[in-house]
Symmetry: C2
């Protein structure tokens, strides 16, 4: 945790911003979890300055959960105490200080959705406490802090991916039987994820034609023989997530069509890996994936209805640069060294079936380090 | 779902508001789940007018998940298409129309934290699309729609509470053994919750002195003989949550001190039930709980560091009126007929142990209907 604080302070200095405030209440700000490494649910205020110990103001009930080696912890008992403490923390600041908060002005919004967090009324309240402060968007701080992973975070991602592979291969694949519902399989996967750390997100379990819906919510549908079964899940390990998708065939002999689509998706994934490297444009990788699909005779415009990958971190869809198609409104960006991204091409045939194969990798200056490996051939269950 | 839409339209008419917009992207708005009954993760815009079919604008990838009997579904492929669609939806509106969005102006903020959701930059963007609209806070709409439960929702809460009790009594209590970690027990509970519906929130499993920390996060601590074990968990069933806390003794003979505290907390809970009734002030119930603690010789100011209860619904801490102490800054409110609330007194002795007993009930005009019943005597494991 101290490593993160030092990194934040370094980034604050680089951007000449005096401090970063994270304030959340009922609403959720992932940066509370990122900075405190705890799930705090009461109204909580975190202020990190360029120097000195950062402060946390939180409820008495949760204050004992905060590491007071790292933070000066101030507890409030009542709402009026909280308001008083917030006023005091901000009123003492000198005129013109630059303070970053988690919001993004509208002109930069669509490229930075995930950093526009502070609710509008809360923004109004917080900024009204000191009109002499130069309130700025924290987007550059957040980007610089979170898009590059520390060695420890990369190690956590590696473990999160390995645990996810292991639980599927050693436990879940053996237990899946026709007649089980998608929901039962989801519960089993999440149990195994929880035993190993936590769940990165609600697992997607999609059988038969549901597999053609990329974000299908596990339902009471029973899985049957001679169907595709698509499973998208991840383990959260020490606040780092994995995100893996595997596609199975329930039954003995997958039809030619499914084998061919699987082969095409796997080839598309390999094409991505050939291009992934720090400094390469995202669109270059995306195009390689789409070209490969075309070579197999599947029009990506029709059958590949999402992008190839997203950055991975404490959030499954994390801050950073993923793999996507640039356009007039979406700027092309270069892949970032020591970021973690997913590689997840898929082909979806509405009313029939879908295949997605998703792995995680670290982007390096020479290429990538694969953290997981979906099977080259479809596994039958 | 149609029932909810009709209710929203009724409430819009009562408040003379033309429509309610829910817009979320990376950030999370529970009203997307509440209205669509799906977990949608892409940027999504919902607009419900006083009459006619409401509209949903969402990504092509997730558009097929929306019920098009209830909504007119419009899918976008690219970000520029989304922006264009948003502009079109808002530009057609006549001057002066009152449109409610999920934000709360700063003067009402602290009583309505959970309805201040729309992020500041997104607020800026959305309201800039049509300057002639009279943008208002949706807080009254949200309060009226969500604080009173429909018959169907109450039935879902009843089932959610029964399932939670059943899984603990029939499965989990039998499997808990000294030597297991808090995390293992948490994983087991969540597995059983998931099999029956979903988890309402991350289960709290706190053994020994951890039980004195109300929101302790399940750790790798192994549970041992002759300790308290506190478990706070809930099932989510058809988008309605239960929230139950049980306190156990690991070992044969709980010490006199633990028995006495358990008795005091149980008596405090019963005192609450004697006062709960629609129209009664929250503080009246809260005072009854605190007086009972005092009668047992435990100063609530020192040992009861939270409130007696909160409203329950699609969120575990839902919109509505709970049971709490009024103060200069926190207005007293009357309990609402057909709301669902938790009753959860607790006594916490730092460094030693804590006892909390939490049940759910429906507030009625004659009193309450209990949805769960924690045991009157501590169960030993």
């Amino acid at each position: 945790m101290k490593e993160k604080i030092e990194r934040v302070q370094q980034v604050l200095k680089e951007h000449k911003i005096n401090s970063w405030i994270v304030f959340c209440h009922h609403s959720y700000d992932i940066h509370s979890k990122y900075l405190l490494e705890k799930n705090i649910t009461s109204a909580t205020f975190i202020m990190i300055k360029q120097e000195n110990k950062p402060i946390v103001i939180t409820s008495r009930m949760e204050s004992m959960m905060i590491d007071n080696d790292v933070y000066d912890v101030i507890a409030y008992k009542t709402r009026s105490e909280l308001i008083e403490l917030l006023k005091n923390s901000l009123s003492g600041l000198e005129n013109g200080k630059k303070i970053a908060i988690n919001y993004v002005p509208k002109d930069n919004l669509f490229d930075n959705f995930s950093m526009d967090i502070l609710p509008a009324g809360t923004f109004e309240f917080l900024t009204s406490l000191n009109n002499n402060i130069n309130w700025v968007s924290a987007k550059d701080i957040i980007r610089d802090v979170r898009s590059v992973k520390t060695k420890k975070e990369i190690e956590n991602h590696r473990i999160a991916a390995k645990l996810a592979e292991e639980l599927m291969e050693k436990v879940v694949e053996q237990k899946i039987k026709p007649g089980m519902t998608e929901k039962e399989i989801k519960a089993l996967i999440e149990y195994e994820c929880n035993k190993r750390g936590g769940i990165a997100f609600e697992a997607i379990v999609a059988s038969g034609e549901n597999s053609a819906i990329p974000h299908h919510h596990a339902s009471k549908t029973k899985i049957k023989e001679n169907q595709v079964l698509l499973i998208d899940y991840g383990v959260s390990y020490n606040w780092s997530n994995s995100d893996i998708t595997r596609t199975y065939w329930i039954g003995k002999n997958p039809p030619e069509e499914v084998l061919r689509v699987y082969e095409a998706v796997d080839a598309a994934k390999e094409a991505a890996y050939k291009h992934i490297k720090a400094g390469v444009f995202a669109s270059e990788v995306e195009n390689a994936v789409r070209e490969t699909m075309k070579e197999f005779g599947y029009d990506p415009e029709k059958y590949f209805i999402h992008s190839t990958g997203h950055p991975l971190g404490i959030e499954t869809h994390d801050v950073g640069v993923g793999i996507y198609k640039a356009s007039e409104t979406v700027a092309d960006k270069r892949l970032i060294e020591n970021s973690v991204v997913t590689v997840e091409p898929g082909l979806y045939f509405e009313g029939k079936f879908g295949v997605r194969l998703e792995d995680d990798c670290v982007v390096t200056k020479d290429g990538s380090i694969r953290l997981s490996n979906t099977p080259k051939k479809i596994i039958t269950i």
